[in-house]
C-alpha cells in the first residue's frame, strides 16, 4: 500500500511540475551538430568563439545594420549585442523566432553577451515564460539566470532619491537628470525582505509608448508590484523591466 501511495505521490508531483511550467514543452532543446548547449556556452571562456541556437524574446534596437536582441533557449539566456543584420531581417524577428548565432562570448561590466556575430534564421519557435526569481534576489544564484526573462513578485516601491535629495517613486535617468519626451530610462527602487533593489525601464527596449513605461510613471511609493523583465547585468543585477503590475 505504501509503495502504491509513494508511486501516486511521485506521479502527482511530476504532473504539478509540468503545470508550473505553464504547459510549455519542457523537453530539452535538441541542438544541431556543432552547436553548443547552454551548459557548454556557460562554461566557455570569455573571448572565445561560440555557436548557439536560441529564440528571440525581445528586440532592443536596430541601427546602422546592427541589432541588439534578448534571446533565450529552454536552458538559459543569450544577449546578442550589435549583431550585423539588415533591417529587413530585423523586421522578420518576432518573439519565438529561432536563430543560429555564431560569434564571440564576451563580458561588459558583468553582462555576458555575444558580439561580432553572424546569424541564420531557422524553423522553430519558443517563447519563454518568466521564471520566478523573487527568492533569488540578493543571492549569488541569481547570476546563473543572467539574460533570462524573470519575474519578481510582491515587491514594494521604495523612494528613489535624485541628485538634489528629492524623493520620488521613479526617476528619469539614474539621478533624475532626464525628462519626459527624451530618451530617458526610468529608474525605480523596490524592496522585499528588507532589501531594496534597483530596476530600470530601458528606453530603447520599452519607450514611452509602452505600457510598462507608463505604468512606472504612475507608481507611488508603497505600491505593491509584480515585475517582469530580462535579467541584464551592469556592475550587478539590473533587470531591464518589461512589465509592472500594481497589485
Amino acid at each position: 500500500m505504501k509503495k502504491i501511495l509513494a508511486l501516486a505521490m511521485a506521479a502527482m508531483m511530476m504532473f504539478a511540475a509540468v503545470s508550473c511550467s505553464g504547459g510549455e514543452d519542457t523537453a530539452a532543446d535538441v541542438k544541431s551538430e556543432g552547436v553548443m548547449t547552454y551548459a557548454e556556452y556557460a562554461a566557455a571562456e570569455l573571448e572565445t568563439p561560440v555557436v548557439v541556437e536560441t529564440y528571440v524574446q525581445a528586440k532592443q534596437g536596430w541601427w546602422d545594420n546592427q541589432a541588439t536582441i534578448y534571446t533565450q533557449d529552454k536552458e538559459g539566456g543569450y544577449f546578442l549585442y550589435n549583431m550585423p543584420m539588415s533591417e529587413e531581417d530585423y523586421a522578420k524577428l518576432v518573439p519565438g523566432t529561432k536563430i543560429k548565432v555564431s560569434g564571440h562570448k564576451t563580458a561588459w561590466a558583468g553582462e555576458v553577451e555575444i558580439i561580432d556575430a553572424t546569424y541564420e534564421i531557422m524553423d522553430g519557435n519558443y517563447v519563454a515564460e518568466a521564471m520566478d526569481a523573487t527568492a533569488l534576489l540578493g543571492t549569488e544564484e541569481l547570476i546563473n539566470h543572467q539574460n533570462k526573462l524573470v519575474a519578481f513578485n510582491g515587491l514594494t516601491v521604495e523612494a528613489s532619491t535624485d541628485a538634489n535629495g528629492n524623493e520620488a517613486a521613479f526617476l528619469y535617468n539614474w539621478d533624475g537628470s532626464g525628462q519626459e519626451g527624451t530618451d530617458s530610462d526610468l529608474y525605480f527602487n523596490a524592496s522585499i525582505g528588507g532589501n531594496t533593489y534597483t530596476f530600470v525601464v530601458e528606453y530603447y527596449l520599452c519607450n514611452e509608448t509602452t505600457d510598462v513605461y507608463n505604468a512606472v510613471k504612475g507608481l507611488n511609493i508603497g505600491d505593491t508590484i509584480d515585475i517582469e523583465g530580462f535579467l541584464y547585468w551592469y556592475e550587478g543585477a539590473q533587470p531591464h523591466v518589461t512589465s509592472v503590475i500594481v497589485k
Binding site: 532592443q60 546602422d64 561588459w108 561580432d116 532626464g178 530603447y204 556592475e235
Partner: protein, 533 residues
C-alpha cells in the same frame, strides 16, 4: 548609465555614415541667407527651441533651466523650449533628420565635426562672423541686455575650433581635454615614482608590472582577481593624440585621409603587445575606466576632464557599490606623452550653433540666447559641474571663478579636488591643445582611428595573429567600414561625388550643345554669304 551609455557608442559609430549619405543628395534650393535685422523687434513674441546635451547630470539640467529663466526675464518676448539629450550622436542624428523637413532646432549644442555635415545643406547653419561684429547685437554689443563677452574675451584657441572654411559657424560652450586619473598608491607600491609629466614608456612599464600575479592567481598589487592596469575611454582620441605627438599624418585640412601610415602601424603593434598581457584594455571592451579605478582594479584611467566627478575613492558620482570601493590616493596628470618637453593634448567639448529660419527676427532671438550661454553666470555655473573650463577669459579671470579654483578639496562635491585638478590641467595647458581638421566626413575618420585600436585589442584577446597581413586587412576593412575611400575622393575636390548625370540632364545638355552648333553654323554661313557679295 549602463546600456544607454553603451548604446551611445553604437550610435556614434553609426552616425558617421550619415555625412556620406547626406552629400549624396543633389541638394535643394535651400534657404535664403540670414541677414541681420536693423532692430530686434520686441513687439513680437518668439518661441525658440534649444537642443542641449547633459552628461546625465542633474545639476547641468538645472543650470540650463536657470539660464533659460534668466534669459526670458531679460527678453520677456522670447520663450526658450529645452530639449535634453544625453549624447551628441542623438542630437546629430535628429538634426540631420530635421534638416530635410526644415524643423531644425534654433539653437543646438554640437561638435564642429557635425556642423561640417549640417552645412552641406544650403544656408542651414548661420555663419556668425557678421553677428559677432554687429555693433548693436554682436558680442559685447550696445543693445545686448546682459554683460556679454567681446570676441577678444573668448579664448582664441577655443574660438578657432569653430572655424569652418574660414568662417565661424559656432561658439565654444565648454572645453575639456583628456586626463589620466591615477591610483598613485599602487604606482608607488609597485616601486615607481609618479612623474609630473607621464610618458607612454612609463605608463606601459608600470602597467606591465601590475600584471604580476600571486601563486593563487590573484594580482599581487591588489589581491583581487581583476586588474586592468591601463584603460582608455576614447580610443579615437588615443590614436589621434599619439599620432599628433609623434608628428605623424592623420589628415589634411582639405580632408585627404593620411592615417594609414607606418607610424600608425607601429603604434598598433605597441597596443597589441600590451593587450596581450592584459596590461591594456578599452572602455568598449571592458567598461568604464572609473569603475575599475575606484574598485582598485585599474591604475591609469584615461577619460575626459569632464568625467572627473566619477574618478577616485571620494568621487561624488559612482556606479559601483560601496563595498567594492577601495581607498587610494588619486593623482591627475595630462595624458601620456612621447616628448614630455612638448606636451600635446586634444581640445574637446561642446560648441553651440544656430540654425537659419525664414524669420530673421527669430534667428536674432536665437543668437541672443546663444550669446547668453557665454555669459559669466552660465559659464561659471556649468563649468563647475565637471572638470570643464569656461571658454571666456572674462569668466576664467573673474573673482568668482578664481575663488572656486582656490577652494579645491573643501568638500567632495562642488570643490572635489580631482575635478578641480582636471580643470586646472586644461587651464595650464591651453596652449598645448590641438584639434583635428573639420570637414564633411571628419567624424568618420575619428571613429576609424579608434576602431583600429579596438580591433587590434580584441583580436589579441581572441588569440588571433596580429602581423603585417593582419594590418593590411585591418586597413582595408576600416577603410571600407567608414567609407574612407569615398570620403577622400569627394572631399579632395571640395565637392561631393554626385554620381553620373541623369539621362534627362544629358539630353538637355546635348540639345543645348546642338543648338549652339547650329547657331554658329548659321552665323558662319551668313558671314560667308556677305563675303561672296
Amino acid at each position: 548609465m549602463s546600456f544607454t551609455k553603451k548604446f551611445t557608442a553604437l550610435l556614434m559609430s553609426a552616425a558617421v555614415a550619415l555625412p556620406v549619405l547626406l552629400t549624396g543628395c543633389h541638394g535643394s534650393r535651400g534657404m535664403d541667407p540670414f541677414v541681420i535685422p536693423e532692430e530686434f523687434d520686441t513687439s513680437r513674441n518668439y518661441e525658440i527651441t534649444f537642443w542641449a546635451k547633459n552628461d546625465t547630470n542633474k545639476t547641468q539640467t538645472e543650470i540650463y533651466g536657470q539660464a533659460i529663466e534668466d534669459f526670458q526675464t531679460l527678453y520677456p518676448n522670447v520663450t526658450v523650449n529645452l530639449r535634453l539629450y544625453t549624447d551628441y550622436s542623438r542630437i546629430y542624428n535628429d538634426v540631420i533628420t530635421n534638416i530635410s523637413t526644415n524643423t531644425t532646432p534654433n539653437v543646438c549644442i554640437t561638435y564642429p565635426d557635425h556642423i561640417a555635415t549640417y552645412r552641406t545643406g544650403t544656408n542651414v547653419v548661420v555663419p556668425l562672423d557678421e553677428l559677432f561684429a554687429d555693433a548693436k547685437y554682436g558680442l559685447g554689443g550696445s543693445d545686448v541686455r546682459f554683460d556679454s563677452p567681446t570676441a577678444d574675451e573668448i579664448v582664441p584657441q577655443f574660438l578657432e575650433e569653430c572655424v569652418i572654411d574660414g568662417e565661424h559657424y559656432a561658439l565654444p560652450f565648454m572645453r575639456s581635454t583628456e586626463a589620466c586619473y591615477i591610483n598613485k598608491t599602487y604606482v608607488e607600491a609597485l616601486g615607481f615614482t609618479l612623474p609630473d609629466v607621464l610618458t607612454w614608456d612609463f605608463v606601459w612599464e608600470v602597467a606591465e608590472a601590475a600584471t604580476e600575479k600571486n601563486a593563487d592567481g590573484t594580482f599581487r598589487i591588489n589581491g583581487q582577481n581583476v586588474m586592468l592596469p591601463f584603460i582608455y575611454k576614447s580610443t579615437d582620441n588615443m590614436m589621434i593624440q599619439m599620432l599628433r605627438q609623434r608628428g605623424a599624418d592623420y589628415s589634411t585640412d582639405a580632408g585627404d585621409i593620411l592615417i594609414f601610415n607606418d607610424t600608425t602601424e607601429e603604434l598598433l603593434y605597441t597596443v597589441a603587445e600590451h593587450a596581450a598581457t592584459e596590461a591594456f584594455t578599452t572602455f568598449k571592451i571592458s567598461s568604464y575606466p572609473a569603475n575599475f579605478l575606484n574598485a582598485g582594479q585599474c591604475i591609469f584611467a584615461v577619460d575626459s576632464t569632464a568625467g572627473a566627478t566619477w574618478m577616485g575613492t571620494d568621487a561624488p558620482l559612482s556606479d559601483i557599490s560601496e563595498e567594492n570601493l577601495v581607498r587610494f590616493e588619486t593623482a591627475v596628470r595630462a595624458i601620456p606623452q612621447f616628448d614630455p618637453d612638448n606636451p600635446q593634448m586634444i581640445s574637446q567639448g561642446p560648441s553651440v550653433c544656430i540654425f537659419n529660419k525664414g524669420d530673421p527676427q527669430e534667428v536674432l532671438a536665437s543668437w541672443l540666447f546663444m550669446q547668453y550661454l557665454l555669459s559669466n553666470e552660465v559659464q561659471i555655473a556649468y563649468s563647475g559641474t565637471e572638470g570643464y573650463v569656461p571658454v571666456t577669459s572674462k569668466a576664467q579671470n573673474s573673482d568668482e571663478y578664481q575663488d572656486y579654483l582656490s577652494r579645491s578639496g573643501e568638500d567632495n562635491e562642488h570643490y572635489y579636488s580631482v575635478k578641480l585638478d582636471a580643470a586646472k590641467l586644461l587651464l595650464a595647458h591651453t596652449d598645448d591643445t590641438f584639434v583635428t581638421p573639420v570637414f564633411n566626413g571628419s567624424a568618420s575618420l575619428r571613429s576609424a582611428a579608434g576602431q583600429l585600436i579596438e580591433n587590434v585589442t580584441k583580436s589579441i584577446r581572441r588569440k588571433e595573429t596580429v602581423d603585417d597581413a593582419y594590418m593590411e586587412k585591418l586597413y582595408a576593412d576600416i577603410t571600407s567600414l567608414y567609407r574612407l575611400d569615398n570620403l577622400s575622393s569627394s572631399v579632395a575636390s571640395g565637392k561631393a561625388d554626385l554620381g553620373p548625370l541623369p539621362g534627362t540632364s544629358v539630353a538637355l545638355l546635348t540639345a543645348l550643345g546642338g543648338t549652339w552648333v547650329l547657331i554658329l553654323a548659321y552665323v558662319g554661313w551668313g558671314i560667308l554669304k556677305k563675303r561672296k557679295k
